[in-house]
Structure formats: C-alpha cells, structure tokens
Symmetry: D2
Subunit: 346 residues, 4 copies
C-alpha cells in the first residue's frame, strides 16, 4: 500500500525536488499540496518542469487545512521557512500525521540556542523534545519510530558524515575543526536577490555572510558533541559557487596521535559506511558533479605532512537539494514507513 | 619612446592577455611574436578575438631567431612551458634583451629543489642566480634593475600578498598555514583535456591533483621563509572552479598571541599596501568577479573565535591571468623600464 | 520478467544516460557492458557518478563477444560511433538479439545518401532495409515489431515533432523551413576538443560547422518528406550553447493559407499529441531547463504578422541526451518488449 | 584638454561599463556622478569592482543638480530608465551640455510610435526632433554636430550593421527579414527578477517576451526603412543566454536576384566597413566570446541553397554592454568632441 504524502509549502526548490522524487517512488503517492498563499498556485505553473506530470486535483494547491490533510495523507513534508514551520508542525502531529520538517525549526534541541541563532523564541517546545534529527546514518532506529523529523541542514549533513567516524574513534581533535564549504545557489532559495542575480553571480566565487556566524555551525556542533562525547569547536566558512546544485566541503582536522596513517583513516570511514546505501568512500577526490541529482554523499580523505604539522583533509560532497534536503527527507520517510530505504532515490 | 616588446610563445592564454594589455599600453609596442611551431601561426587565427587588432607583420609569428628579436625588441616575454623556457632565456639575455619569464623555470632559487619539484634538472643555473622574483610589492627595487624576471605563479601571488605582512610582523605562526585555493580554468592552460572538457567541468567543483604536492607550494614557502626569517610550512589545497578567470584563496592562520584583534590585522594589511596601486584591502569579502580582467589583488581578513581556538582567516582574490600572470608581467616591465607602473593595466 | 540489456560501447555520454535510466527501470536489467577497447574499462571509473551503483560483474566491460551477449541479453544498445555501429549490428541481429542503434548508421534509408552524407559506403545494406526509425510518436507500431531500431538524431527528434503535425495537415509550406537550433555540449561527445574546452566555450555562443551542411538535415528531410508526401527543404543552422544538456529549436515556417489562426496551430499540435506521454504542447515558451533530465519534448507556437508576411514560429525543446538519445532509446525498448512506454523515464 | 564627463544614473550596468572605459580614456575625465536616489550611493559600494579606482569626490554620487553638472562637465551620459531620461535631457541641454542618452527615449523619431511602443506619451517632443541616432557607421557626420544623441539599442545595433549594406545595395528583400537573436543577461538590467535568478537561468535557454512585440523591432525598422528607402518588415525573436555579456543574431534574408553569390555578399559587407575601426567582416563564424569586453561588431555571411529556396544567413555579434551600449556611447562622445574615435575603446 502506498504512503499518502502531503507537502505543505511546496513552492520552493525543496518542494520541486520532493515532487520529482515522489513521482518516481514506487511506494508513495502525492495526494495533497498545501499553500499559505492567498492565491493558491498551480505547482505546474510555479515550476514549468512539472507541466503534465501531476493530476490537476493534486497540482493546484489547497489551503493548509489540517483536518483535510489528515484525511488524505499519512505523512507531511514541511517546505516552509523557519519560524513558520513550527506553527504548523504541532497541529499536524496532533491530527495524527507524521511530519518531516525541512526547515531549521526542530534541528536544535535547545530552545534557548534556537532563539539565539534564529533571533526568535521557539514557540513549540512541546514537540521540540520529541523531534528526531533525521540523519539516517547516525539515527536510523530513532527515525523509524519518530513522529517528527527535523531534516538536517545541507552543510551539516555533508560535514557530519565526514567527521563523525573519525571523531567517534578519537582519531581527530574535537576542538580544532575547520570546514571550508562551497555550495551551489539553490541553497540560497528561490527568492531573487542581488547576490544570486545571474550577471552578479555567474563567473563569481567568494565567501559570504558573517564568517564564524553561520546558522549551520551550532547544528553541526550539536551532533558532533554527541558523537565525540565532548564539546567540539568548528570554524565554518561558507562560499557560494556559480552552479545550481552541490556542496563540497574541504575539512581540515588535526590528528590526536602522531602515528596515524592514511590507510587507518580510510578504513575508519569504510567501516562506518560499509552497509550504507548512500555514502560512498572513494579514493579519487569527490566532485559535486558526481553526486548531482543523487542522494549520495561522497567522501575521501588525505593525510598530509606539512613541516612539523600533520593535517587530515577530508573531502565530502553531496547534492544540497537531494542528500542535503529533499532526498534525505524521502529517505527518512522510507525508514519511518518500513519501505526500502532507497525507494525513489536511485 | 616606446618599449619594444617581443613575445616568445604567444599562443597560450598568457600570450592573449599580454597582447590585449600591450595593445592599450601607451608606452609599449608589440614588435615581434616568435613561435617554435613548424607552421608559424597567425595569432589572430589562434585567437579570433585579436582579428584586425594587430598589423599583419606582427600578427604572423616568426621563428625564435634570437638576433632578430634583439634587433627589434627591448624586452621579451617568455610564454613557453617550463623546461622549454630555460633553453631560450640565456641566449636572449646574452643578446642584450631583458627577459620576463612567465614559466616556472626561474622561480625556485635552488636548482636541486627545482629538479625535485619539476622532475627535470635545471639546465641554466648560470642565469638562475640572477633571476629576480617578480612580485613588485615585495621586490620592486630589485625588479627595476633586473635583466631576468621570474614572473610569479598565480597561486603564490595571491597567497604571498595575503600572508606576508602578517608573517613579517610576527602576528601569525609560520608553521601552520592552510591555503584553501580555488582557481578558474584558464589556469589549466589551453590544451583540451577531459578534466576541462565543458560537459565534465561545467557545474562541477572539486579539489584536484596530489593534495600537498602542488608545485606552487615550495614557491610560496620560498618567499614566506624569506619574509618570516624562519622556515614556514604551508598546506596548499587547490580546487577547480567552473569559471574562466579568477583565484580565491581562503587562508587559515593561527595567531602567535592571544590578544590579537581584527583591527590590528586590518591595520597591518593596510599599512603594508597603502601605497600599492594594485592591492586593495577591503572590508567586504573578496570575490573573483570584482578583480576579473584587472591587475588588482583584493584582501580581507577575519578573526574568529571557535571554542578554545582563535582563527585568522584571510581572503585573497586575483585574476589568475592578470595579476597572476600577464598583468603582473607587464607591471614588472613597467618597473624595469621606468614607466608608470600602472601603464596598460588600469 | 525483466528485459536483459546489453550496451556495446557504453563509455560515451549516451552510455552514461542509458545506464542511469536502466538502473531505475523496474522491468529491465543491465547484464552486459561490452567495449572494443584493448584495456577493458570499469564503467564506474570512466564515470565516477556510477561508483557503487553497478555490481562489479557488470561494471567491468567485457569484449564484444556476440555469442556471449546473445546468451545474457535480449536487447543491445549500440553506443558506438557511426561507421563502427554497422559492423556489429548485423552479427548481433543474426544471433537473435534485438538491436537499438544510437549512431547514425541506420537512420538514412538510402545507402547512397548515407555514403554522400557520411563520406563512407554503407557496409550493411542487408539490414538497412529492415531498420525502423525509432521516433515513437510517428512509428510506434513498426517499432513494436522491429528487430533493428535506428534511434533518431537529437536535432531531428525535436524538429520532426514540431513540424510534422503542421505539415501533415498542409498548414505550412514544405519547401521553406528554417530551423534555428541551439544545443548543449554533451551533443558534441566526450572527446576533448578546443571548441568544447571550458575556457573557450564558457560564456560563448555561436553557430558552428558548415551552414547548410549538417548531417542531421537530410535525416530530418527524410522524415518530413514522408509526412508531407512531397519533397521538403530545410535550412538547418546549429549553434552551440554553454550548457551541458538541452536543445532548443526556433523554427520559422510559412503558412499555406492567409486565414490561418494561432488557435488552429495550437489545436493541430494538441490533437497530434493528446495521447502522447512525452510531448507537452504548452502556452508558455519552451526552455531547455524545463526538459533537462526528462524525456519530454516541449512545444509551443506563435503566429506573427510582420508587414506583408505572416510567420509561424514553432519552439521545440528536448534534452539532447534523453529524448534526443538515451531516453528515446529506452522508450523504444519499452515499446519493443511490450512494457509500459514510460518505464524508467518518469 | 580632457572632456569633462558626468553620468546621471550610473548605478546600472551601463554605468559600470561607462566608468571602466572612461577610467582608461586618455582624453576624458569623469567629474560628476549624479543620482536621483534619496540616499546618495558611493558607486564603489554599488560596484565593488570599482573600489579604489575613483577619487572619493567623484565616487560618491551627488544630486541631479543641472547647474552644478553644467559647471563641472561638458557632456552627460544618461543611464536612466526610459520615461525618466526624457525628464532630464531637456534641462541639461538647455544648460549648454551635450547629452548622450542610453535609454530608449529619443530613439524613435515619431512621438506617436514612441507612445504606442512604450505605453507612455513622449513629454519632450521639443528635443526629440534634434536627437541624432548614435550609430557612427551610418550617421557619423550628424553625430559630430549633435547636442543630443539617442544611443542605439543593443539588438538594433547588431542587426542594423548586419543588414544595412545588403539592403542599401538592393541585394535582399526588404519585407522578409527574420532576426533570431540571443542575448546575455546584463541586457535585462541589474534588478533581481525570477527569470534571471541564478538557479532559474543557469543551464537554461529559451525565447522570451511577446514574440513579434519586442520594443527594439520598430527601432530597427526605422533605421532599415531609411537605408532601404522603402518600408521594411522584421520578425524579431529574442532569446536569453546563460552568459553575462554578448549578443549573437542569426539573420535570415531572401535575395532579390537568383544569381547572387556569397562572394558578392562578402564584398558588399567589406566595402561598407573597410574604414570602420569597430566592424570586422570575418570568414569564420562570429562568437559572442570574440567580442566580449570590446567595441567590435563581428559579421559574417553565408549563402545557402535549400531545395528551391536560396537563403542568405548573416551572423552578427557584439557585446551588448559595449558596442550595444556604453562603448558605443563613448564612441559617440569621441566623435562629438573631435577625439580619436577609438580612444578608451581599444
């Protein structure tokens, strides 16, 4: 029997990628698109790619009517902005739906930290405690039983998968982690801005934002703290690439011991992910193009001696829209409903 | 009186950019293009951009005839591959020409190190000792008197300008320097290869080569050693951007003292470059697009506390073809011939 | 029961796209990759995207052993260059396999025309006569029964779908057809060349080749002649776009009658394709991005009066790699084996 | 003595390109930037490329004070939107300045046609009559004496230069001209919009707007009518390219006589432009990349027989920002002030 799926807030890029993957999912069926807009949009007009691919009854968005959604769906993806998502999650959960939130609203477990990072008090602390961080490679069992999934941010997904196994095994220092990250522009959303205006961004490359102040940094540290069993410190420096989709992070770590070998690093990563369908440890250097439009995370590692210092450099690539958002959300759905975890994703 | 200019090996991208800048240079005149090819090319056919912009007598390359070049030119730019450049520099110098070599052949002062890095013995140690490293911001006075200029590599140009002032003042540790670099594809030359084949490289981003083994790393360390007065260690990690021109380096440094401030870092950079026509210390974050087709190097710096660790992050952007190659070569020529240093470059 | 599929010559872009679609095809299974190369490649090394997605026994190419292929496969896709494809098609057919040839070798029914266009005599006229031109929207019934499919060229696919209905109904003149075409670079193949070297092609746009002499023009005319029942004349002018995938053709036609209306043109297209799963007649203007990575052909039409002349402008967009090559090949396979025509393609 | 130059409305892309060319112009000096914005912008903050390249007194915009401008400048470039430009041109002219308007306000000589095309009455018919259409290759002598220049649109510049010589000589039909045009995105201006949002426009290509209704079509026809001495009809179909700068137009013409030859077409173009510094008639096919950041217009032509029909195809490429806007404006200024026409443009 098919999982019946609703999307609340489908008009962003995460909505587009959810829909495209659901359309080819053998065990799920899109039944309800809900929008808060006054003029309810036809999703096939919002995204001309989708013309003719959805039945008219689904294609035209309906209001966010919790009871109606509960009648027609088993699970809801929230494609809403943060601050907005947490106003809908509670009622949808209370109506018996399972909820996968693609916003940041349930990612930070500590409501005070959320308020500090997002400049806004958390208004649904009731459900915050029950949210499961939806990174299957770390929390698969909790995800299976969860009602509410906080789908991870794109940058933390790539970084966590890269760093966790090394940290868990105590191979790298917890308090000196540098993540040099580069992302495609879909990560910046669909609202036109000068920074992503084509003639400004094409042929460009730079870091952006307040260096050291990106909102994904505390999210990443929260998971790494848990993995390490101690407080971790990350310097996160994001850059914007003139491409559509993809994140590459070049991560600089310091070994805890002098006699570490590159083989040991590879083995640690390979063992951690040997049964994972979506993590590929590879010898060659990850490239955003190799993972574009896939749910894969590609990892590689190098040990480099530079004078008196030994550096560990981990490379990690995902498609920010897929493993970094919509693909991972569907992976979570598959786990929650006992389906093949890769359904719709290969 | 105009400087008479020859280019030996003008058919690569450095040749194109030299020619375009010389065409608008008020005090220099291109008189001789020399090629080692059997079929002597017309440069306006090699680069269709140049059609109609050169007189026919200059446009069609002539053989590399040292005496003829010496009769018609005062200075020669070598746009040849490394290993080849050093076979021509000597004879041209001996014929009384001043030589600006854009290859790597005279950048490393130590012939043994050259052999190790370039897998080839140095065959012109005679002139190696007299070559001046053509980074005007550091070596302007020597450049003025030099006969032979080793025009710096693109990556080292950006990194040296970023790191030197901080190192000279003892603000940063010399042995823990991480340079995360990203370059446009013109840096890879004009010979078609799979890695720069459009459908492979478009929408792509990755690190490349042997991490820790890039040939520009010893070149960079050579200059930094001199600036620091001690041995420096650089971890250099290059990435390839899907753009034509531009290098951005994000450089991670460790302070030597705990009480360093961001203001002090800015002041140090500003003071170092206050009279430099081509270095801009800026508050916003450098972007390769801001320097594209210019001879500028844009710098900025951030001090970030991350848990117990304080990081200094320096951002440096140049156009790899201009300040990273042909523009800097012309800047060197201007200095050598007592012209306005910015002639042809603004 | 799954269709067992072999690919002979899988190392080009058509091979990659065939494999990616077969991997998600519910009723087909890739069993054999065959290569003529001396060193048999692992396809996951040729295309790093494919790492971990194929079992090792399939991933590593085997020699082109006709009997072995016949034992392990029901159908063979030929991803070989033209001239080479026709040396293998015969033996594979004789061994009982059904063959879908993605090269140009069986597209032109007239062996003399083939020789003239491809500068090479046709060496398999025996099977040429039985080849069916694999454009499902026109030849679905023949495809179902065919042993040998000549998979159409990318440009003719887009143009034929755009022009045929109007020509069939006698609405447009047969002898004054202008096809202004623009294609992404995957259409130029995977061998590095100067024209598709990134720094040459990025930020570029131009027509290419001998205007009026493109090999796809006679292929297009052959089909249009049959549709029109008279001789047609096409001026075909191809341009190269700085993108990976996609073809847009802007087609200029002259009406046969003065009283034609835009509505009539739309109706003609809509009626022709109302039951077609992969042709979308749309009011807005087709964009290569809307069809990228899909098997759709998007069509729209405008009637424009310009002084005394009335022009019909038809816009047609496909992904040159999908509907223009690998997707259409799989659509043909689905038809040949009685599967859902859209399997693996949505 | 230097021409003193003001720019009113410098914050768009035409402003940027005017400034960059004026900075290297040996006989002109930027003295005044004027903005209608309430908060007067520093142009070096608007365009980070310009940091450090203008003296502070010029860099910070001042109000549009006609008398002050008249005191400090000899000529004014208007970089304002249409409808706004014509509110300032009159007062500036009356204050004794010469004015070069880069908007569309003075391009159409007929005020009624202007009203129809721009949905707005013309409010400065007084000066409309004295405006000279600033296409130097056709109107150089009038430009030299003009007080008010209507700087041509980008698309008409490329098309007029391509078609005029053939039309003037009666070689092509006046009423059946098809202009298939493709432009980079700077032509769409600097205000962020969905159509030029990076993730929407990157890897995209399509026609846009109302086909047959582009505002540049009557502008083009106005000039061609004059050249032909009869009424001309143009079908103009614009497309948007995923690049920054450049226009390529592929123009389809019908010969007036059957015995026309390709040589005759080339000769006609070559003779028309043999003394022109910025028009290059070339044998190879024009490419936007060959003219990027130059003031050149590249032309080529092909004669193609297609069944019973003979087609003339003219290819024309310019940089929409340079020969299509700011470069041509400076070329006009050079002519008006008796300077070398190429000053600042080579």
């Amino acid at each position: 029997m098919s999982i019946r799926v609703a999307i609340v807030g489908p008009t962003g890029y995460t909505g587009l990628h959810l829909i495209e993957r659901l359309l080819r999912h053998p065990g799920a069926k899109l039944t309800y698109l809900a929008s808060a807009r006054k003029e309810l949009p036809d999703i096939a007009e919002v995204f001309p790619r989708l013309a003719g691919r959805l039945t008219a009854s689904v294609s035209v968005c309906r209001p966010i009517d919790v009871q109606a959604i509960a009648r027609e769906a088993d699970v809801v993806f929230l494609g809403l902005p943060h601050k907005v998502a947490m106003t809908y999650a509670g009622p949808l959960l209370d109506a018996g739906l399972r909820v996968i939130d693609l916003s940041a609203d349930y990612r930070l477990r500590d409501a005070d930290l959320y308020e500090q990072v997002y400049n806004n008090p958390h208004i649904d602390t009731e459900h915050l405690g029950q949210a499961v961080y939806g990174l299957p490679e770390l929390y698969r069992e909790s995800i299976a039983k969860a009602s509410l999934i906080a789908n991870p941010g794109c940058y933390p997904t790539a970084a966590t998968l890269a760093i966790s196994p090394l940290l868990a095994k105590g191979l790298v220092q917890a308090d000196n982690i540098i993540v040099n990250a580069a992302s495609g522009t879909t990560g910046a959303g669909r609202s036109p801005k000068l920074i992503t205006h084509f003639p400004e961004h094409n042929e460009s490359y730079s870091a952006y934002g307040q260096i050291g102040g990106h909102r994904h940094q505390p999210e990443l540290e929260q998971t790494l703290d848990q993995v390490a069993g101690e407080e971790t410190s990350v310097l996160f420096v994001p850059h914007l690439l003139p491409i559509d989709q993809g994140i590459l992070e070049t991560i600089y770590l310091q070994p805890t011991a002098n006699d570490i070998t590159e083989e040991e690093l590879f083995e640690t990563l390979e063992r951690a992910y040997e049964n994972e369908p979506f993590v590929r440890v590879r010898n060659d250097l990850p490239n955003v193009k190799y993972v574009c439009n896939t749910n894969f995370c590609d990892l590689s590692v190098r040990l480099v001696e530079s004078g008196p210092v030994t550096h560990i450099v981990v490379f990690t690539a995902i498609d920010n829209m897929i493993k970094g958002a919509s693909g991972q959300a569907i992976q979570n759905m598959n786990i929650m409903f006992g389906q093949d975890e890769t359904a719709g994703l290969l």
